[in-house]
C-alpha cells in the first residue's frame, strides 16, 4: 500500500515537473497594463486572464512549439509562438488597439442625428414626437435645433440663411419630391409624412456626405422602421379629424396600413380666425408600408403614400377694398418607394431602390385656373466595402428624372420641362485610430437639360479630445434652379455653394453640448428683373454668403424628471438673388434665433408636460416708400407653446397642445400694393398668423393583445 502511495506521489511530482509555467504581462502600445485579457494555448483549455496589473500565469502540459493567443476587447488579437519545454516561460505582450465603431470618434460637423442606437446624437426619435409646439410635424421639431430659422408664414425648413428649396429630403436614401404639403402663399405648411414611420433621422445643416446632392444648404435623411413589435391597431380621434392604422407582423415580414382624414372647418367655426377662409383646409391620406427581412440583417421595404386635399382662401389686396383675391387650391400627391439593404458577405454591403413622387396642384386665382404638375423619379444603387474595420469605400450610382409642367387652362397654354440627371459618388472613410477619422468624397453629375457636367468634392475630419471632440467639414454643393424658373429658361446651370464648418461636440452623463461655426459662400444664384410671378431677363449673376455660429445645450440630469434643451443661432447672411439689385439680408434669415424646449414628467399625474419657446430677432422686408432694398425689419418673433400628454392607462394617451399661448401678434413681413395710392404712398398689409393661437386635443388608443402597448410614439 505504501509503495503504491509513494509511486503515486512520485508520478504527481513528475507530472508537475513536466509542466511549463507561462507568465508575463499584457500592455497596450503605450505600456499601459490591460487587465482581463484572455491568454491561452491554442487548441487547449490551458489559459488564464490577466489581473489588474496586467500580469498572468498558468501552467500547461503541452510540449514543443505551441501558439499562445492573447485577446482583449478593444484590441486586436495577437498570436505568438512559444516553446514549451518544462522550463518557466516569461512572455510580455503589447496589443494594438482595434477600431471600435461603437465608441470611436464620429463626424459631427454639420450633422444632427436622431437615433436610439448611436452615441453622438442630439435627439432621440421620440423627441420629434414629444417636442411641444411641433404638433407631430417632423420639420417643426427640427426648428428647435441650431442652424435653423422659423419662418412662420412658410413652415418649411430654412437652414443657415438658405431658402426652403435648398434642403433635400430623403426616405431610406431615396429623395422625396414635394415633401411638404401644397399651400398658398403666406399660409404655413407641414411635412406630409407621419413621424411614426421613422426610427431615426439624419439632419445635416451643411458639409454633408457625397451621397447627397442637388441641395445647397441642407439634407434631411429619414430612416423608416424595420420590424414593428406586434400586431396592433392604433386609433386616433382628434379635434381636427381622425385615423386608423393596422399593423400585422409575421416572422419575416410586416404590413402596416393606415388611413387618416382631417378637416379644419369645425375648429375654425369655433375659434376665430384671422385668415379669410372660403373653405377651410381639409384632406385625407392613406399609406401602406411593407417590410421583408432579407438574410440576417437585410431588408426589402416598400412604402406607398397617397393623399388629397384643398383649401380656398381670400387674400386681401393692400390698399384695395373688399375681400381681395380668391385662391382655391386642390392638391393630389403620391409617393412610393421600394428600397433594399443587404450584406453580401466578404464585408460587402449593398443598398438602393427606386422612388416616385407625383404632385398635382390645381389652383384657381379668382377665375383663372392654373395647373402645375411636378414629378420626380429617383433610382439609386450603392455598394460599400469594408476593407478593414477602419477603412470603408462607398460607391453609388443614381439616376433622376425630373419633370414639371404648368398650364393656363383658360388660354390652353402649357409649358413643361423634363430633365434626366446622372450621378456617381464615391466616398472613402478611414480611421487612423479610435480618435481620428477622415472622410473624403467626390460627387459628379450630368444634367441632360442643362447640358452641364459637374464634380463636387467633400471632405470631413473628426478628432476626439480628452473631453468631447472636434470636427471639421468642407465641400462644394450644386443645385439646379427652381423648376418654375427652368421652365422659362431651360439652359439655366447649377447654382453653387461652398461650406466650411467647425464643430465641437460633447456628450457626458446625460448632458450634451454642441457648438458650431460655419461659413458658406453662394455663387451663380438666379437673378431676374420684374416680379417673382413674371420674371424677366433671367440670369445667374447672384452671389452671397452666410456665416455664423450656433450653440446647443441639452440636459437630462440637473433637474430631476426634466429634460430640456436650449439653442442659439447667429446667422449673418447677405445675398444678391431673385429680383434684388444688391447684397441684402433675405427675409427668411433672421440674425438671432433661439429656442428653449422643456419636457417634465410628473409620475403622480402620469403625465408629460412640455413647453417650448422659439424666438428670433425679426424678418427683413422692403418698404417701397423708402429708398433701398430690405431696409426694414419686423419686430421680433416669439412663440411660447405648451403641451400635456396624459397616460391614464398604458394603451390610452390624451394629448393636448396649444401654440402661442401668450397670444402674441407675430408679423413675418409686409405686402405692399403694386402701385402707389392717391397720396403717392404704397399701401401695405402685414403678413401674420392664421389665428392668435392654435389648440389641439387628441385621443390615441392602441388595441393589441399586449395591454401595455401604447402610441407613445404617436404624440
Amino acid at each position: 500500500m505504501k509503495t503504491i502511495f509513494t509511486s503515486l506521489l512520485l508520478f504527481t511530482v513528475l507530472a508537475s515537473s513536466a509542466q511549463t509555467r507561462i507568465s508575463g504581462k499584457i500592455t497596450d502600445q503605450k505600456g499601459i497594463v490591460i487587465p482581463g485579457a484572455n491568454i491561452y494555448i491554442k487548441g487547449t483549455y490551458d489559459g488564464s486572464s490577466s489581473d489588474l496589473n496586467g500580469s498572468f500565469q498558468f501552467s500547461t502540459d503541452e510540449k514543443g512549439k505551441q501558439i499562445l493567443v492573447i485577446q482583449s476587447i478593444g484590441f486586436k488579437a495577437k498570436e505568438s509562438e512559444v516553446e514549451c519545454a518544462a522550463q518557466p516561460l516569461i512572455v510580455n505582450i503589447s496589443l494594438s488597439e482595434s477600431i471600435n465603431l461603437l465608441t470611436a470618434v464620429t463626424i459631427t460637423a454639420g450633422a444632427m442625428e436622431a437615433s436610439d442606437e448611436k452615441k453622438a446624437v442630439v435627439l432621440k426619435p421620440l423627441d420629434i414626437l414629444t417636442t411641444s409646439g411641433a404638433m407631430g410635424d417632423i420639420t417643426a421639431a427640427f426648428l428647435t435645433l441650431p442652424g435653423t430659422s422659423t419662418v412662420g408664414n412658410d413652415g418649411r425648413l430654412f437652414v443657415r440663411g438658405g431658402g426652403a428649396s435648398e434642403t433635400s429630403i430623403y426616405i431610406d436614401g431615396l429623395q422625396v419630391g414635394n415633401a411638404f404639403g401644397s399651400t398658398v402663399s403666406n399660409v404655413p405648411t407641414r411635412t406630409r409624412f407621419s413621424p411614426n414611420l421613422f426610427k431615426g433621422s439624419f439632419f445635416s445643416t451643411g458639409g454633408y456626405s457625397a451621397e447627397f446632392g442637388q441641395a445647397l444648404s441642407s439634407a434631411l435623411a429619414l430612416n423608416s422602421l424595420d420590424m414593428p413589435l406586434r400586431n396592433q391597431g392604433d386609433l386616433s380621434i382628434m379635434t381636427l379629424g381622425g385615423g386608423y392604422t393596422q399593423t400585422l407582423v409575421g416572422k419575416k415580414n410586416a404590413l402596416t396600413a393606415s388611413a387618416n382624414y382631417f378637416n379644419l372647418a369645425p375648429y375654425q367655426a369655433v375659434v376665430k380666425q384671422k385668415f379669410d377662409w372660403g373653405k377651410s383646409p381639409s384632406g385625407w391620406d392613406s399609406e401602406i408600408s411593407l417590410k421583408q427581412k432579407w438574410g440576417k440583417a437585410g431588408f426589402i421595404k416598400g412604402y406607398f403614400h397617397t393623399e388629397g386635399g384643398g383649401m380656398t382662401i381670400w387674400q386681401k389686396e393692400p390698399g384695395a377694398e373688399g375681400r381681395g383675391q380668391r385662391v382655391k387650391l386642390d392638391n393630389s400627391y403620391s409617393y412610393g418607394n421600394v428600397s433594399f439593404r443587404h450584406s453580401g458577405g466578404n464585408n460587402w454591403f449593398f443598398s438602393g431602390g427606386a422612388a416616385f413622387s407625383h404632385n398635382r396642384d390645381a389652383i384657381r386665382l379668382d377665375q383663372t385656373p392654373v395647373r402645375q404638375v411636378t414629378q420626380l423619379v429617383h433610382t439609386k444603387f450603392v455598394a460599400t466595402k469594408d476593407f478593414t474595420p477602419g477603412f470603408a469605400l462607398k460607391n453609388g450610382l443614381e439616376w433622376y428624372v425630373k419633370s414639371y409642367s404648368e398650364a393656363l387652362l383658360n388660354e390652353s397654354k402649357e409649358r413643361d420641362i423634363k430633365d434626366h440627371q446622372f450621378n456617381h459618388f464615391i466616398e472613402a472613410s478611414y480611421y487612423f485610430s479610435n480618435r481620428l477619422i477622415a472622410v473624403g468624397g467626390l460627387r459628379s453629375g450630368y444634367s441632360i437639360l442643362a447640358k452641364q457636367y459637374w464634380l463636387t468634392p467633400r471632405f470631413s475630419l473628426a478628432y476626439k479630445l480628452k473631453q468631447g471632440q472636434l470636427s471639421f467639414a468642407a465641400g462644394k454643393f450644386k443645385q439646379l434652379p427652381d423648376e418654375k424658373l427652368r421652365v422659362l429658361q431651360t439652359n439655366l446651370a447649377n447654382t453653387e455653394a461652398t461650406h466650411y464648418i467647425l464643430n465641437y461636440f460633447l456628450v457626458n452623463n446625460n448632458r450634451t453640448f454642441r457648438a458650431e461655426s460655419f461659413y458658406k459662400i453662394y455663387d451663380n444664384l438666379v437673378t431676374y428683373s420684374g416680379t417673382t410671378r413674371e420674371p424677366q431677363k433671367i440670369g445667374q449673376n447672384g452671389s452671397g454668403y452666410a456665416r455664423g455660429v450656433d450653440f446647443f445645450y441639452r440636459d437630462k440630469k440637473t433637474v430631476k424628471g426634466t429634460d430640456f434643451w436650449i439653442t442659439y443661432s447667429f446667422v449673418d447672411s447677405k445675398r444678391k438673388f431673385a429680383a434684388y439689385e444688391s447684397l441684402i439680408q433675405p427675409s427668411f434669415a433672421p440674425k438671432h434665433n433661439g429656442s428653449v424646449v422643456v419636457k417634465h414628467f410628473v409620475g403622480k399625474l402620469k403625465s408629460q408636460l412640455g413647453t417650448s419657446w422659439s424666438w428670433n430677432s425679426g424678418y427683413t422686408y422692403t418698404n417701397p416708400n423708402l429708398a433701398g432694398e430690405m431696409q426694414n425689419k419686423t419686430k421680433m418673433y416669439s412663440d411660447l407653446s405648451l403641451s400635456w400628454s396624459w397616460l391614464p392607462r398604458p394603451n390610452v394617451i390624451v394629448h393636448a397642445a396649444c401654440s402661442n399661448v401668450l397670444g402674441r401678434e407675430n408679423i413675418f413681413g409686409y405686402r405692399y400694393a403694386s402701385q402707389p395710392g392717391a397720396e403717392g404712398n404704397y399701401a401695405s398689409l402685414p403678413v401674420g398668423q392664421g389665428a392668435k393661437r392654435f389648440a389641439f386635443i387628441g385621443l390615441f388608443i392602441t388595441l393589441s393583445k399586449d395591454r401595455n402597448a401604447n402610441q407613445l410614439n404617436n404624440l
Binding site: P35, N38, Y45, S49, K124, P125, N510, K606, L647
Partner: protein, 217 residues
C-alpha cells in the same frame, strides 16, 4: 405511491448521470459555470468570460459555452461601477455571442431569455434615454421566450421585474409582477438543480426570484 415512485425514478436517473463518466468538456464547463454564478467581482466575471471563450473555441458545436460567455458579459454590462461606454462595449459583445449561440440552437427559450436580459441591461445602463424605446422590445423578447417555454423560471422572473417597474410607473397594483415571481420561484423549487447542472443547463436566477417574492409580501 405513484408519487414516491417517480421521486425514486428521478433520484436514480440523477445518480446515474452524476456517476457517468464526465468528459473534459463537461468537467471544465461545470467548474466554470459554478464560478460564474457565484461571483460578483468584475475581474472574476472577465476571467469567466475568457474561460468560456477558450472552451467555445474548442467546442464549436455546443451552444452553452457561448451562452455562458454572453451571460458573463451581460453581468459585466450590469456593473454599476463601469462607464456607459464600457457597459455598452460589454453588452455589444454579449449580444454578438448570444446571437451565435442562437444560430447553433435556434428556438431555445434560454437563449431568447438572455437576449431579452441583454436588452434589459442596455435600458438599465441609460434608462432616461432608452427606457421608452427599448422597454417594449425587452418585454416582447421575454414574451417570446415564454411562448417557447411557459415554465422558464428565468424568463418568468425577468418578466416579473419588468412588470414591477411598469406597475410602479403607472401606479397600478403589482399583482401581475408578484404572480410571475411566485410562479418563477415555484418552478425553481421544483427543479432538480443537480440534474440540470450535469446536463450543463442554466440554473441561475433563483435568488432574484426569492428577493422578488420577499418584496411582494
Amino acid at each position: 405511491m405513484k408519487k414516491l415512485f417517480s421521486v425514486i425514478a428521478v433520484f436514480l436517473i440523477t445518480i446515474s448521470i452524476v456517476t457517468a463518466q464526465e468528459t473534459p468538456y463537461q468537467k471544465v464547463m461545470k467548474k466554470e459555470i459554478a464560478t460564474l454564478i457565484s461571483t460578483d467581482s468584475l475581474n472574476q466575471l472577465q476571467s469567466s468570460a475568457n474561460a468560456f471563450a477558450r472552451i467555445a473555441e474548442l467546442n464549436t458545436k455546443e451552444w452553452q459555452p457561448l451562452y455562458y460567455q454572453g451571460l458573463a458579459y451581460t453581468f459585466i454590462g450590469l456593473d454599476k461601477s463601469l462607464s456607459l461606454d464600457l457597459k455598452d462595449a460589454a453588452l455589444a459583445k454579449a449580444e454578438e455571442l448570444i446571437n451565435k449561440a442562437d444560430v447553433l440552437s435556434p428556438n431555445n427559450a434560454e437563449i431568447v431569455t438572455v437576449q431579452g436580459f441583454i436588452l434589459m441591461a442596455k435600458v438599465s445602463a441609460d434608462p432616461g434615454s432608452r427606457g421608452q424605446s427599448l422597454s417594449g422590445q425587452v418585454m416582447g423578447t421575454f414574451g417570446k421566450a415564454l411562448t417557447m417555454d411557459s415554465k422558464n423560471p428565468r424568463a418568468l422572473i425577468l418578466m416579473s421585474q419588468m412588470e414591477y417597474g411598469l406597475s410602479k410607473f403607472f401606479g397600478n397594483g403589482t399583482e401581475k409582477a408578484c404572480g410571475l415571481a411566485k410562479e418563477s420561484l415555484a418552478v425553481f423549487n421544483s427543479q432538480n438543480e443537480d440534474a440540470l447542472e450535469v446536463a450543463l443547463q442554466p440554473t441561475w436566477g433563483k435568488p432574484l426570484a426569492e428577493n422578488m417574492v420577499k418584496g411582494c409580501k
